[in-house]
Amino acid sequence: MTAETVKIECRNVSKIFKQRAGTVQIPVLDDISLRVLENEFLVIVGPGQCGKTTLLRIIAGFETPTAGHVLLDGKEISGPGPDRGMVFQKYTLFPWRTVMANVEMGLKLRGMAKKERREIAGHYIQLVGLQGFEKAYPHELSGGMKQRVGIARAYANDPKVLLLDEPFGQLDAQTRYLMEQETARIWSAEKKTVIFVTNSIDEAVYLADRIITLEGKLPGRVKSSYTVHLPRPREHIDKKFLELRHQITEETELLL
Protein backbone atom coordinates (compact mmCIF):
# COMPACT_ATOMS: atom_id res chain seq x y z
CA MET A 1 0.00 0.00 0.00
CA THR A 2 2.31 2.66 -1.23
CA ALA A 3 0.06 4.78 -3.43
CA GLU A 4 -3.13 6.11 -1.93
CA THR A 5 -5.11 6.33 -5.17
CA VAL A 6 -8.57 4.78 -4.99
CA LYS A 7 -8.89 2.27 -7.81
CA ILE A 8 -12.32 0.72 -7.22
CA GLU A 9 -15.11 2.22 -5.23
CA CYS A 10 -18.49 0.66 -4.39
CA ARG A 11 -21.01 3.25 -3.26
CA ASN A 12 -24.06 1.88 -1.41
CA VAL A 13 -24.41 -1.11 -3.71
CA SER A 14 -27.56 -3.18 -3.25
CA LYS A 15 -28.81 -6.07 -5.32
CA ILE A 16 -32.21 -7.75 -5.35
CA PHE A 17 -32.79 -10.80 -7.53
CA LYS A 18 -36.26 -11.14 -8.96
CA GLN A 19 -37.75 -14.49 -9.78
CA ARG A 20 -40.96 -15.65 -11.42
CA ALA A 21 -41.69 -12.39 -13.20
CA GLY A 22 -40.94 -10.29 -10.13
CA THR A 23 -43.29 -11.99 -7.69
CA VAL A 24 -40.42 -13.33 -5.58
CA GLN A 25 -37.69 -10.92 -4.54
CA ILE A 26 -34.46 -12.07 -2.95
CA PRO A 27 -32.27 -9.34 -1.47
CA VAL A 28 -28.67 -10.46 -1.98
CA LEU A 29 -26.57 -7.38 -1.18
CA ASP A 30 -27.55 -4.52 1.08
CA ASP A 31 -25.80 -1.16 1.07
CA ILE A 32 -22.24 -2.27 0.44
CA SER A 33 -19.64 0.49 0.39
CA LEU A 34 -15.94 -0.16 0.03
CA ARG A 35 -12.79 1.23 -1.53
CA VAL A 36 -9.84 -0.61 -3.00
CA LEU A 37 -6.57 1.29 -3.30
CA GLU A 38 -4.10 0.96 -6.13
CA ASN A 39 -1.99 -2.23 -5.85
CA GLU A 40 -3.89 -3.29 -2.79
CA PHE A 41 -4.70 -6.98 -2.24
CA LEU A 42 -8.25 -6.99 -0.86
CA VAL A 43 -9.82 -10.26 0.23
CA ILE A 44 -13.57 -10.54 0.77
CA VAL A 45 -14.42 -13.40 3.11
CA GLY A 46 -17.81 -14.89 3.72
CA PRO A 47 -19.50 -18.27 3.91
CA GLY A 48 -21.39 -19.78 0.99
CA GLN A 49 -24.56 -17.90 -0.03
CA CYS A 50 -23.59 -14.54 1.47
CA GLY A 51 -23.55 -12.59 -1.77
CA LYS A 52 -19.77 -12.27 -2.14
CA THR A 53 -19.72 -13.76 -5.63
CA THR A 54 -22.59 -11.48 -6.64
CA LEU A 55 -20.60 -8.48 -5.42
CA LEU A 56 -17.65 -9.57 -7.53
CA ARG A 57 -19.88 -10.15 -10.56
CA ILE A 58 -21.25 -6.63 -10.15
CA ILE A 59 -17.72 -5.22 -10.10
CA ALA A 60 -16.94 -7.35 -13.14
CA GLY A 61 -19.98 -5.86 -14.87
CA PHE A 62 -21.94 -9.11 -15.41
CA GLU A 63 -24.69 -7.90 -13.08
CA THR A 64 -26.00 -4.40 -12.58
CA PRO A 65 -26.67 -3.24 -9.02
CA THR A 66 -30.30 -2.57 -8.10
CA ALA A 67 -29.10 0.55 -6.29
CA GLY A 68 -25.73 2.24 -5.87
CA HIS A 69 -22.71 2.63 -8.11
CA VAL A 70 -19.40 0.92 -8.82
CA LEU A 71 -16.59 3.20 -9.97
CA LEU A 72 -13.29 2.27 -11.57
CA ASP A 73 -10.82 5.18 -11.57
CA GLY A 74 -13.78 7.43 -10.81
CA LYS A 75 -15.80 6.27 -13.82
CA GLU A 76 -18.93 4.17 -13.50
CA ILE A 77 -18.73 0.56 -14.70
CA SER A 78 -21.22 -0.26 -17.44
CA GLY A 79 -20.41 -3.86 -18.36
CA PRO A 80 -17.63 -6.42 -18.55
CA GLY A 81 -14.44 -5.20 -20.16
CA PRO A 82 -10.72 -5.74 -20.49
CA ASP A 83 -9.85 -3.09 -17.87
CA ARG A 84 -10.71 -5.79 -15.33
CA GLY A 85 -9.42 -9.35 -15.45
CA MET A 86 -11.30 -12.25 -13.95
CA VAL A 87 -10.21 -15.63 -12.67
CA PHE A 88 -13.14 -18.03 -12.35
CA GLN A 89 -13.79 -20.71 -9.76
CA LYS A 90 -14.48 -23.28 -12.47
CA TYR A 91 -11.38 -22.26 -14.47
CA THR A 92 -13.47 -21.53 -17.61
CA LEU A 93 -10.60 -21.93 -20.04
CA PHE A 94 -11.40 -22.25 -23.73
CA PRO A 95 -11.15 -26.03 -24.20
CA TRP A 96 -10.42 -25.79 -27.93
CA ARG A 97 -7.42 -23.52 -27.36
CA THR A 98 -3.95 -24.49 -26.19
CA VAL A 99 -2.43 -22.96 -23.06
CA MET A 100 -0.62 -20.39 -25.18
CA ALA A 101 -3.74 -19.48 -27.17
CA ASN A 102 -5.78 -19.16 -23.97
CA VAL A 103 -3.26 -16.82 -22.37
CA GLU A 104 -2.90 -14.62 -25.45
CA MET A 105 -6.65 -14.50 -26.16
CA GLY A 106 -7.21 -11.03 -24.69
CA LEU A 107 -4.32 -9.58 -26.69
CA LYS A 108 -5.56 -11.28 -29.85
CA LEU A 109 -9.02 -9.78 -29.38
CA ARG A 110 -7.34 -6.40 -29.10
CA GLY A 111 -5.72 -6.99 -32.50
CA MET A 112 -2.12 -7.22 -31.30
CA ALA A 113 0.35 -8.75 -33.78
CA LYS A 114 1.10 -12.40 -33.29
CA LYS A 115 4.80 -12.05 -32.49
CA GLU A 116 4.23 -9.41 -29.86
CA ARG A 117 1.42 -11.23 -28.09
CA ARG A 118 3.37 -14.52 -28.14
CA GLU A 119 6.13 -12.75 -26.28
CA ILE A 120 3.84 -11.28 -23.64
CA ALA A 121 1.88 -14.52 -23.19
CA GLY A 122 5.14 -16.46 -22.95
CA HIS A 123 6.28 -14.15 -20.16
CA TYR A 124 3.16 -14.79 -18.09
CA ILE A 125 3.17 -18.52 -18.76
CA GLN A 126 6.66 -18.48 -17.33
CA LEU A 127 5.56 -16.32 -14.40
CA VAL A 128 2.91 -18.85 -13.38
CA GLY A 129 5.40 -21.69 -13.85
CA LEU A 130 3.86 -23.42 -16.87
CA GLN A 131 6.77 -23.22 -19.33
CA GLY A 132 6.81 -26.41 -21.41
CA PHE A 133 3.00 -26.69 -21.43
CA GLU A 134 2.33 -24.00 -24.04
CA LYS A 135 0.94 -26.49 -26.55
CA ALA A 136 -1.14 -28.54 -24.10
CA TYR A 137 -4.95 -28.41 -24.20
CA PRO A 138 -6.80 -27.60 -20.94
CA HIS A 139 -8.20 -31.14 -20.59
CA GLU A 140 -4.62 -32.41 -20.35
CA LEU A 141 -3.90 -30.26 -17.28
CA SER A 142 -4.59 -30.80 -13.58
CA GLY A 143 -6.89 -28.46 -11.66
CA GLY A 144 -4.02 -26.44 -10.21
CA MET A 145 -2.39 -26.06 -13.62
CA LYS A 146 -5.68 -24.98 -15.18
CA GLN A 147 -6.01 -22.24 -12.62
CA ARG A 148 -2.42 -21.14 -13.31
CA VAL A 149 -3.50 -20.70 -16.94
CA GLY A 150 -6.54 -18.74 -15.70
CA ILE A 151 -4.28 -16.41 -13.71
CA ALA A 152 -1.85 -15.99 -16.61
CA ARG A 153 -4.73 -15.26 -18.98
CA ALA A 154 -6.04 -12.52 -16.70
CA TYR A 155 -2.55 -11.07 -16.12
CA ALA A 156 -1.56 -11.09 -19.79
CA ASN A 157 -4.41 -8.75 -20.66
CA ASP A 158 -2.83 -6.19 -18.28
CA PRO A 159 -6.07 -5.20 -16.52
CA LYS A 160 -6.23 -2.38 -13.99
CA VAL A 161 -7.92 -4.68 -11.48
CA LEU A 162 -7.77 -8.42 -11.03
CA LEU A 163 -10.90 -10.18 -9.77
CA LEU A 164 -10.57 -13.70 -8.39
CA ASP A 165 -13.76 -15.59 -7.57
CA GLU A 166 -12.94 -18.40 -5.12
CA PRO A 167 -10.20 -19.45 -7.54
CA PHE A 168 -8.96 -22.37 -5.46
CA GLY A 169 -12.34 -23.66 -4.28
CA GLN A 170 -12.14 -26.74 -6.51
CA LEU A 171 -8.62 -27.77 -5.60
CA ASP A 172 -7.50 -30.29 -2.99
CA ALA A 173 -5.99 -28.93 0.23
CA GLN A 174 -2.37 -29.57 -0.77
CA THR A 175 -2.68 -27.89 -4.17
CA ARG A 176 -4.67 -25.06 -2.69
CA TYR A 177 -1.91 -24.34 -0.20
CA LEU A 178 0.65 -24.35 -3.00
CA MET A 179 -1.48 -22.09 -5.19
CA GLU A 180 -1.83 -19.58 -2.35
CA GLN A 181 1.97 -19.38 -2.14
CA GLU A 182 2.16 -19.01 -5.90
CA THR A 183 -0.45 -16.27 -5.94
CA ALA A 184 1.48 -14.33 -3.30
CA ARG A 185 4.69 -14.82 -5.28
CA ILE A 186 3.14 -13.74 -8.60
CA TRP A 187 1.50 -10.73 -7.01
CA SER A 188 4.77 -9.69 -5.36
CA ALA A 189 6.55 -10.04 -8.70
CA GLU A 190 3.99 -7.96 -10.61
CA LYS A 191 1.85 -5.79 -8.40
CA LYS A 192 -1.84 -5.37 -9.28
CA THR A 193 -4.96 -4.18 -7.61
CA VAL A 194 -6.65 -7.41 -6.56
CA ILE A 195 -10.08 -8.29 -5.24
CA PHE A 196 -10.06 -11.88 -4.08
CA VAL A 197 -13.19 -13.68 -2.89
CA THR A 198 -12.91 -16.74 -0.66
CA ASN A 199 -14.60 -18.65 2.13
CA SER A 200 -11.32 -19.50 3.85
CA ILE A 201 -10.09 -17.20 6.64
CA ASP A 202 -6.70 -18.85 6.49
CA GLU A 203 -6.40 -18.06 2.80
CA ALA A 204 -7.49 -14.48 3.47
CA VAL A 205 -4.91 -13.87 6.20
CA TYR A 206 -2.19 -15.43 4.09
CA LEU A 207 -2.84 -13.25 1.03
CA ALA A 208 -4.50 -10.01 2.04
CA ASP A 209 -3.36 -6.46 2.67
CA ARG A 210 -6.87 -5.92 3.91
CA ILE A 211 -9.74 -8.30 4.70
CA ILE A 212 -13.44 -7.48 4.55
CA THR A 213 -15.84 -9.96 6.10
CA LEU A 214 -19.48 -10.21 5.08
CA GLU A 215 -22.35 -11.27 7.31
CA GLY A 216 -23.17 -14.93 7.16
CA LYS A 217 -26.70 -14.63 5.81
CA LEU A 218 -28.59 -12.85 3.06
CA PRO A 219 -28.67 -10.01 2.32
CA GLY A 220 -24.89 -9.58 2.41
CA ARG A 221 -23.62 -6.65 4.47
CA VAL A 222 -20.10 -5.62 5.37
CA LYS A 223 -19.41 -6.93 8.87
CA SER A 224 -15.92 -5.73 9.62
CA SER A 225 -12.58 -4.86 8.08
CA TYR A 226 -9.04 -5.86 9.10
CA THR A 227 -5.73 -4.53 7.91
CA VAL A 228 -3.04 -7.18 7.78
CA HIS A 229 0.36 -5.81 8.67
CA LEU A 230 2.26 -9.09 8.60
CA PRO A 231 5.45 -9.05 6.50
CA ARG A 232 5.62 -11.11 3.33
CA PRO A 233 6.28 -13.92 2.57
CA ARG A 234 4.02 -15.06 5.39
CA GLU A 235 4.14 -18.22 7.45
CA HIS A 236 0.99 -20.11 8.36
CA ILE A 237 2.47 -21.03 11.74
CA ASP A 238 3.72 -17.56 12.60
CA LYS A 239 2.39 -16.46 16.00
CA LYS A 240 0.93 -13.18 14.77
CA PHE A 241 -0.60 -14.95 11.78
CA LEU A 242 -2.37 -17.39 14.08
CA GLU A 243 -3.52 -14.61 16.41
CA LEU A 244 -5.11 -12.64 13.61
CA ARG A 245 -6.70 -15.74 12.16
CA HIS A 246 -8.08 -16.59 15.60
CA GLN A 247 -9.39 -13.07 16.09
CA ILE A 248 -11.24 -13.03 12.76
CA THR A 249 -12.66 -16.48 13.37
CA GLU A 250 -13.93 -15.42 16.82
CA GLU A 251 -15.56 -12.30 15.49
CA THR A 252 -17.25 -13.98 12.55
CA GLU A 253 -18.79 -16.88 14.38
CA LEU A 254 -20.99 -17.81 11.47
CA LEU A 255 -18.06 -18.56 9.22
CA LEU A 256 -16.75 -22.09 8.79
Binding site: A60, P80, G81, P82, W96, M105, G106, L109, H139
Partner: protein, 282 residues
Protein backbone atom coordinates in the same frame (compact mmCIF):
# COMPACT_ATOMS: atom_id res chain seq x y z
CA UNK B 1 -12.90 -52.15 -15.01
CA UNK B 2 -15.48 -54.57 -13.64
CA UNK B 3 -13.19 -57.47 -14.29
CA UNK B 4 -10.53 -55.80 -12.18
CA UNK B 5 -13.01 -55.20 -9.40
CA UNK B 6 -14.17 -58.78 -9.39
CA UNK B 7 -10.63 -60.05 -8.92
CA UNK B 8 -8.76 -57.44 -7.00
CA UNK B 9 -5.88 -59.82 -6.64
CA UNK B 10 -5.26 -62.19 -9.53
CA UNK B 11 -2.96 -64.12 -7.30
CA UNK B 12 0.21 -65.13 -9.06
CA UNK B 13 1.07 -67.75 -6.45
CA UNK B 14 -2.01 -69.80 -7.13
CA UNK B 15 -0.91 -70.51 -10.67
CA UNK B 16 1.55 -73.08 -9.37
CA UNK B 17 -1.23 -75.48 -8.45
CA UNK B 18 -2.94 -75.78 -11.79
CA UNK B 19 -5.84 -78.18 -11.66
CA UNK B 20 -7.85 -78.67 -14.88
CA UNK B 21 -10.84 -77.01 -13.24
CA UNK B 22 -8.75 -73.98 -12.29
CA UNK B 23 -7.43 -73.66 -15.83
CA UNK B 24 -10.96 -73.86 -17.20
CA UNK B 25 -12.10 -71.20 -14.75
CA UNK B 26 -9.28 -68.94 -15.82
CA UNK B 27 -10.08 -69.48 -19.48
CA UNK B 28 -13.71 -68.59 -18.85
CA UNK B 29 -12.58 -65.25 -17.45
CA UNK B 30 -10.53 -64.37 -20.51
CA UNK B 31 -12.40 -62.20 -22.96
CA UNK B 32 -10.45 -63.27 -26.02
CA UNK B 33 -10.90 -66.97 -25.36
CA UNK B 34 -14.62 -66.33 -24.99
CA UNK B 35 -14.72 -64.33 -28.22
CA UNK B 36 -13.04 -67.21 -30.03
CA UNK B 37 -15.46 -69.73 -28.54
CA UNK B 38 -18.36 -67.50 -29.48
CA UNK B 39 -17.36 -66.94 -33.09
CA UNK B 40 -16.50 -70.55 -33.83
CA UNK B 41 -19.67 -71.67 -32.03
CA UNK B 42 -21.76 -69.29 -34.08
CA UNK B 43 -20.26 -70.46 -37.37
CA UNK B 44 -20.64 -74.12 -36.42
CA UNK B 45 -24.25 -73.75 -35.33
CA UNK B 46 -24.99 -71.77 -38.47
CA UNK B 47 -23.31 -74.34 -40.69
CA UNK B 48 -24.94 -77.41 -39.17
CA UNK B 49 -28.37 -75.92 -38.86
CA UNK B 50 -28.17 -74.89 -42.53
CA UNK B 51 -27.05 -78.38 -43.55
CA UNK B 52 -29.31 -80.44 -41.35
CA UNK B 53 -32.49 -78.61 -40.47
CA UNK B 54 -33.39 -75.98 -42.98
CA UNK B 55 -32.78 -76.70 -46.61
CA UNK B 56 -30.10 -74.60 -48.21
CA UNK B 57 -32.86 -73.03 -50.25
CA UNK B 58 -33.70 -70.88 -47.21
CA UNK B 59 -30.50 -70.87 -45.21
CA UNK B 60 -27.12 -70.97 -46.95
CA UNK B 61 -24.04 -72.12 -45.05
CA UNK B 62 -21.35 -69.55 -44.17
CA UNK B 63 -19.16 -71.06 -46.86
CA UNK B 64 -21.85 -70.54 -49.49
CA UNK B 65 -22.17 -66.88 -48.50
CA UNK B 66 -18.42 -66.46 -48.86
CA UNK B 67 -18.44 -68.05 -52.32
CA UNK B 68 -21.38 -65.86 -53.33
CA UNK B 69 -19.48 -62.80 -52.15
CA UNK B 70 -16.62 -63.83 -54.44
CA UNK B 71 -19.06 -64.37 -57.32
CA UNK B 72 -20.85 -61.03 -57.10
CA UNK B 73 -17.53 -59.26 -56.72
CA UNK B 74 -16.66 -60.38 -60.26
CA UNK B 75 -19.84 -61.01 -62.15
CA UNK B 76 -21.95 -58.41 -63.85
CA UNK B 77 -25.28 -57.95 -62.07
CA UNK B 78 -27.83 -55.88 -63.96
CA UNK B 79 -25.14 -53.88 -65.73
CA UNK B 80 -22.69 -53.34 -62.87
CA UNK B 81 -20.33 -55.32 -60.69
CA UNK B 82 -20.34 -55.16 -56.90
CA UNK B 83 -18.09 -52.12 -56.72
CA UNK B 84 -20.24 -50.36 -59.29
CA UNK B 85 -23.38 -50.90 -57.20
CA UNK B 86 -21.58 -49.83 -54.04
CA UNK B 87 -20.43 -46.67 -55.77
CA UNK B 88 -24.00 -45.93 -57.02
CA UNK B 89 -25.21 -46.01 -53.43
CA UNK B 90 -22.29 -44.00 -52.04
CA UNK B 91 -22.64 -41.44 -54.81
CA UNK B 92 -26.30 -40.84 -53.89
CA UNK B 93 -25.42 -40.69 -50.20
CA UNK B 94 -22.74 -38.06 -50.76
CA UNK B 95 -24.97 -35.79 -52.83
CA UNK B 96 -28.00 -36.15 -50.54
CA UNK B 97 -25.88 -35.71 -47.43
CA UNK B 98 -24.22 -32.63 -48.87
CA UNK B 99 -27.57 -31.03 -49.70
CA UNK B 100 -29.23 -32.01 -46.42
CA UNK B 101 -26.42 -30.74 -44.22
CA UNK B 102 -25.84 -27.64 -46.34
CA UNK B 103 -29.43 -26.65 -45.58
CA UNK B 104 -29.73 -28.09 -42.06
CA UNK B 105 -26.55 -26.77 -40.45
CA UNK B 106 -26.92 -23.07 -41.33
CA UNK B 107 -30.63 -23.19 -40.54
CA UNK B 108 -29.89 -24.72 -37.14
CA UNK B 109 -27.24 -22.07 -36.47
CA UNK B 110 -29.56 -19.21 -37.42
CA UNK B 111 -32.34 -20.68 -35.28
CA UNK B 112 -30.00 -20.83 -32.31
CA UNK B 113 -28.74 -17.29 -32.81
CA UNK B 114 -32.01 -15.54 -33.65
CA UNK B 115 -35.25 -16.21 -31.86
CA UNK B 116 -37.42 -14.81 -34.65
CA UNK B 117 -35.97 -17.29 -37.10
CA UNK B 118 -36.34 -20.00 -34.48
CA UNK B 119 -40.00 -19.16 -33.85
CA UNK B 120 -40.73 -19.12 -37.57
CA UNK B 121 -38.96 -22.35 -38.52
CA UNK B 122 -39.49 -24.54 -35.48
CA UNK B 123 -43.26 -25.12 -35.80
CA UNK B 124 -42.91 -26.28 -39.41
CA UNK B 125 -39.82 -28.32 -38.57
CA UNK B 126 -41.70 -29.98 -35.71
CA UNK B 127 -44.41 -30.99 -38.18
CA UNK B 128 -41.91 -32.59 -40.53
CA UNK B 129 -39.56 -34.14 -37.96
CA UNK B 130 -41.69 -37.11 -36.80
CA UNK B 131 -42.24 -38.37 -40.36
CA UNK B 132 -39.67 -41.03 -41.24
CA UNK B 133 -37.65 -39.81 -44.24
CA UNK B 134 -38.53 -42.92 -46.21
CA UNK B 135 -42.23 -42.06 -45.97
CA UNK B 136 -41.50 -39.26 -48.45
CA UNK B 137 -40.63 -41.81 -51.12
CA UNK B 138 -44.04 -41.89 -52.78
CA UNK B 139 -44.23 -38.11 -53.03
CA UNK B 140 -40.62 -38.00 -54.20
CA UNK B 141 -41.38 -40.45 -56.99
CA UNK B 142 -44.46 -38.43 -58.00
CA UNK B 143 -42.40 -35.26 -58.05
CA UNK B 144 -39.09 -36.40 -59.49
CA UNK B 145 -39.80 -39.77 -61.15
CA UNK B 146 -37.96 -42.95 -60.26
CA UNK B 147 -34.51 -41.61 -61.21
CA UNK B 148 -31.67 -40.33 -59.09
CA UNK B 149 -33.44 -37.19 -57.89
CA UNK B 150 -36.09 -38.97 -55.85
CA UNK B 151 -33.45 -40.98 -53.98
CA UNK B 152 -31.28 -37.96 -53.37
CA UNK B 153 -34.34 -36.12 -52.08
CA UNK B 154 -35.06 -38.85 -49.50
CA UNK B 155 -31.44 -38.89 -48.37
CA UNK B 156 -31.32 -35.10 -48.13
CA UNK B 157 -34.44 -35.08 -45.92
CA UNK B 158 -32.97 -37.81 -43.74
CA UNK B 159 -29.65 -35.98 -43.35
CA UNK B 160 -31.30 -32.58 -42.86
CA UNK B 161 -33.11 -33.42 -39.60
CA UNK B 162 -30.18 -34.49 -37.37
CA UNK B 163 -27.92 -31.85 -38.92
CA UNK B 164 -30.36 -29.11 -37.93
CA UNK B 165 -31.15 -30.47 -34.47
CA UNK B 166 -27.51 -30.90 -33.50
CA UNK B 167 -26.21 -27.62 -34.80
CA UNK B 168 -29.11 -25.90 -33.01
CA UNK B 169 -28.48 -27.68 -29.71
CA UNK B 170 -24.72 -27.34 -30.05
CA UNK B 171 -25.01 -23.56 -30.06
CA UNK B 172 -27.79 -23.39 -27.48
CA UNK B 173 -26.01 -25.55 -24.93
CA UNK B 174 -22.71 -23.65 -24.86
CA UNK B 175 -21.54 -23.15 -21.26
CA UNK B 176 -22.57 -19.54 -20.42
CA UNK B 177 -19.44 -19.13 -18.29
CA UNK B 178 -17.37 -19.22 -21.49
CA UNK B 179 -19.26 -16.16 -22.68
CA UNK B 180 -18.44 -14.43 -19.37
CA UNK B 181 -14.78 -15.27 -19.85
CA UNK B 182 -14.52 -13.94 -23.40
CA UNK B 183 -16.50 -10.77 -22.65
CA UNK B 184 -14.24 -10.09 -19.68
CA UNK B 185 -11.28 -10.26 -22.04
CA UNK B 186 -12.85 -7.54 -24.13
CA UNK B 187 -14.48 -9.38 -27.04
CA UNK B 188 -17.14 -7.65 -29.13
CA UNK B 189 -20.19 -9.51 -30.49
CA UNK B 190 -18.50 -10.75 -33.62
CA UNK B 191 -15.40 -11.91 -31.75
CA UNK B 192 -17.60 -13.66 -29.17
CA UNK B 193 -19.28 -15.59 -31.95
CA UNK B 194 -16.06 -16.56 -33.69
CA UNK B 195 -14.06 -17.38 -30.56
CA UNK B 196 -16.73 -19.04 -28.39
CA UNK B 197 -20.07 -19.75 -30.06
CA UNK B 198 -18.79 -21.65 -33.08
CA UNK B 199 -15.88 -23.57 -31.57
CA UNK B 200 -17.96 -24.54 -28.53
CA UNK B 201 -20.83 -25.71 -30.69
CA UNK B 202 -18.63 -27.53 -33.15
CA UNK B 203 -18.37 -30.95 -31.44
CA UNK B 204 -22.16 -31.27 -31.25
CA UNK B 205 -22.46 -30.07 -34.83
CA UNK B 206 -19.96 -32.66 -35.97
CA UNK B 207 -21.76 -35.36 -33.99
CA UNK B 208 -24.91 -34.32 -35.84
CA UNK B 209 -23.17 -34.74 -39.17
CA UNK B 210 -22.06 -38.23 -38.13
CA UNK B 211 -25.67 -39.14 -37.35
CA UNK B 212 -26.76 -37.53 -40.64
CA UNK B 213 -24.36 -39.65 -42.60
CA UNK B 214 -25.48 -42.91 -41.01
CA UNK B 215 -29.13 -41.94 -41.50
CA UNK B 216 -28.27 -41.13 -45.11
CA UNK B 217 -26.80 -44.60 -45.55
CA UNK B 218 -30.03 -46.15 -44.23
CA UNK B 219 -32.12 -43.91 -46.44
CA UNK B 220 -30.30 -44.79 -49.63
CA UNK B 221 -30.84 -48.49 -48.95
CA UNK B 222 -34.52 -47.97 -48.21
CA UNK B 223 -35.00 -45.87 -51.33
CA UNK B 224 -33.19 -48.45 -53.43
CA UNK B 225 -35.29 -51.23 -51.95
CA UNK B 226 -38.43 -49.44 -53.08
CA UNK B 227 -37.33 -48.64 -56.61
CA UNK B 228 -33.92 -48.68 -58.27
CA UNK B 229 -31.86 -50.30 -60.95
CA UNK B 230 -28.53 -50.06 -59.16
CA UNK B 231 -27.08 -49.78 -55.69
CA UNK B 232 -26.64 -52.07 -52.71
CA UNK B 233 -30.33 -51.91 -51.77
CA UNK B 234 -31.19 -52.98 -55.31
CA UNK B 235 -28.69 -55.82 -55.05
CA UNK B 236 -30.24 -57.40 -51.97
CA UNK B 237 -33.77 -56.98 -53.29
CA UNK B 238 -32.55 -58.66 -56.49
CA UNK B 239 -31.33 -61.53 -54.34
CA UNK B 240 -34.79 -61.72 -52.84
CA UNK B 241 -36.63 -61.79 -56.16
CA UNK B 242 -34.17 -64.38 -57.48
CA UNK B 243 -34.74 -66.49 -54.33
CA UNK B 244 -31.02 -66.44 -53.66
CA UNK B 245 -30.44 -66.02 -49.90
CA UNK B 246 -26.64 -66.22 -50.34
CA UNK B 247 -26.84 -63.12 -52.46
CA UNK B 248 -28.96 -61.28 -49.87
CA UNK B 249 -26.59 -62.21 -47.08
CA UNK B 250 -23.43 -61.36 -48.99
CA UNK B 251 -24.98 -58.02 -49.94
CA UNK B 252 -25.74 -57.41 -46.26
CA UNK B 253 -22.12 -58.19 -45.40
CA UNK B 254 -20.92 -55.52 -47.83
CA UNK B 255 -23.48 -53.05 -46.48
CA UNK B 256 -22.44 -53.69 -42.87
CA UNK B 257 -18.73 -53.39 -43.66
CA UNK B 258 -19.32 -50.11 -45.48
CA UNK B 259 -21.35 -48.70 -42.60
CA UNK B 260 -18.63 -49.78 -40.20
CA UNK B 261 -15.88 -48.18 -42.28
CA UNK B 262 -17.83 -44.92 -42.49
CA UNK B 263 -18.06 -44.83 -38.68
CA UNK B 264 -14.35 -45.55 -38.25
CA UNK B 265 -13.30 -42.91 -40.77
CA UNK B 266 -15.57 -40.30 -39.19
CA UNK B 267 -14.28 -40.91 -35.68
CA UNK B 268 -10.72 -40.51 -37.04
CA UNK B 269 -11.73 -37.27 -38.74
CA UNK B 270 -13.30 -36.10 -35.49
CA UNK B 271 -10.08 -36.68 -33.53
CA UNK B 272 -8.33 -34.66 -36.17
CA UNK B 273 -10.71 -31.69 -36.37
CA UNK B 274 -11.44 -31.39 -32.66
CA UNK B 275 -8.40 -32.61 -30.75
CA UNK B 276 -9.65 -30.89 -27.60
CA UNK B 277 -12.82 -32.95 -27.41
CA UNK B 278 -12.77 -35.41 -24.54
CA UNK B 279 -16.35 -36.53 -24.16
CA UNK B 280 -19.54 -35.04 -25.46
CA UNK B 281 -22.18 -34.50 -22.78
CA UNK B 282 -25.27 -36.43 -23.76
Amino acid sequence: MNAALEHPTTVQGLQRHKSPAAILRRLLKNRYVLYLVSISGLLLIWHFSAVNFATSKYMPTPWMVLKELWRIAHENLAGKDLLGHLWSSLHRVLIGFAIGSAVGVPLGLFMALNRYINNLVKPVFDLIKPMPPISWISLAILWFGIGEESKVFIIAIGAFVPALINSYNGIRLVDPALYDAIRMLGANRWQTMMEVTFPAGFPALFAGLQISLSVAWSCVLAAELVSARSGMGFLIILGMTMSNPSMILSGMVVIAVTAYLITVVLSKVEKWVCPWKVELPQ
